[in-house]
Amino acid sequence: MMLLSALLSAALLTSAPTGDADTIHCTHDFTAIALSAAPVPSLPAPLSDGDTLAIVAPAGECRGRNLSHAAAALNHQGWHAIEGPHIYECQGSLAGSVSDRLYDLRNAFLNPSVKAILCARGGYGAIHLLESLDSLPLSATNKWLVGFSDISALHAFQNSRSTASIHGPMAINFHHPDSLLSPSCKALIALLKGKQMHYSLPVDPLNRRGYAVAPLRGGNLSVISELASTPYDAMLPGSILLIEDVGEPAYKIQRMLYRLKLSGVLSQLKGLIVGEFTDAPADIDYPSIPDMIADLVKDYSFPVAYNVPIGHAAVNLPVVLGANASLRVDPDTGVEILTPLP
């Protein structure tokens, strides 16, 4: 309880609170507190009672996936969840043709009553839609878009047009009733309501101390790496970069980070959040992917937090990309992340 108060006081000093805080999770592994904060004008509007959210499938196919839990959980919040007409279409591994997937996403953007878009799942295929989305006016795309993994391509799209978006759990990650809702999904709901999330994580021996406030960018490393040199490049100097991946061996992760190093961007980051790197085969050159990354960034001085529970694992803490975040890494007290910040 003392620790919580201390954390809250620290958080209140850096945010612009209007009063209450909700504890979403508090155990030794991580703490997630939703703080009420003054609305940030440049962010998409928070959801209010009765607002509509669209569930769309821009990438992998969803046949046989139970997406009803997500709709039920969102409706339980007083919102109105609708499914895009093509979300159960199937073309090979994709949730329909390019035009099917584009239709649902464009409609969700263009429909003024839709206030947020929750992606059903990742997989592969979001990249097919980016160029066609270019023609949408900024006023249409200025709403919350939620997802991760392959959906990192859509975050890159949104962020490239100065619109913040939420890297977090998707429709397939929801459970219902409310008692089964994970801390990650509860935190997502808090962010959609306009709250600020304050995460406290334990010490990791590889962490590098420091403090940064900067735009948070990134997501799935394989996906965002393939957007380098395109108009949707998310790996920008001066940002706090978030990276996670699944099923990639250490040498491929290293190759992607070498690209970042050789392009000059790695040395100009303000911070690095190393999320989950799951299902990586054992490697004879490095004990772990975090060890390999630590070696690669050893010549720089920005704060680095390792093993942050974001990515393809049981816990996937939602964060706001394309908006400022703060990252504080302390060798004694651990890691604090505040997202979003004005």
């Binding site: 073309q91 090979g92 591994s93 994709l94 592969y124 990249i127 097919h128 980016l130 160029e131 394989s222 996906v223 790496s225 393939e226 957007l227 380098a228 040199s229 395109t230 108009p231 949707y232 490049d233 040498y251 190759r255 992607m256 070498y258 690209r259 190093k261 050789l262 392009s263 490697d283 004879i284 050159d285």
Partner: protein, 305 residues
Amino acid sequence: MLSHTTPFLRPEPLQPGSKIAIVSPAGIARIPDVEVAAECMRNQGWQPIIMPHALGRTGSFSGSAAERLCDLTEALLNPEIKAILCSRGGYGAVHLLDSLSKIDLRSAAKYLIGFSDISALHALLSAAGIMSIHGPMAKHIAVNKGNNPEFKSLCSLLRGNPMHHSFDPHPLNRTGSATARLSGGNLAVLSGLVNTPFDALRPGTILFIEDIAEPIYKVERMLWQLKLSGVLENLAGLITGTFTNYQPDANYSSMEQMIARLTDGYSYPRAMGIPIGHGSHALPLLLGSQTTLSVTPQGVSLINP
């Protein structure tokens, strides 16, 4: 960055007695392969020099980055060494690029030979405006003790003869002719250098691509990067080599089918299924040379006069 019209430096042809360094910039070399390849070089009247760390091992690499850098720096700078044969690919050449880019690569320019992970070194040389040879390494040269088309074609190129290849037609080819600078290599390796000073995936070139053990969707994603950046549309020509160790997926029955679909909207000549890449085919390509790609219903020719 050099434009696609800047003429590249062509290394001097090999003479009797020319020294050829054998290096291992990435993975661990198989000693018998290196020894047989060295013998093949001697039989051609050249003098192979196995560099000090070429036969070492450190984890999955032939040596530490410092050791590999030491051998390659010496081989690149020493004017007595007239060609550099890489023993094999693997992974790790990328570790050397930043340091190698700071040395004088042009004064004693020489042919560097290899492919797969060695595409990273081809990218380095391309950035410096020097031609290099995407071609057989120790294990390919060693097949049948040098009595194979890859090695014979390599020797011809090293002696300064023109490059001239002919290939069978492929149903997904697109006819046409183009003369432009030849570039490319392993797509995963080259994708890993996009937006760096060693970016070899440039518009206006005839691009050759091959890969191994990459699923169709990952190769598609790499090509989407080129599409979204405008490079894919503005190539002078496209040559797809062998894509090995992958499975048909729910969307495409073959890599070629996917690549054809992605490039159908363009008009430059497209030659598919060219037998160059992993496996036993490593016919040499003179990267950086002004090359004429000609695709007709009868077949494909690739000529650098």
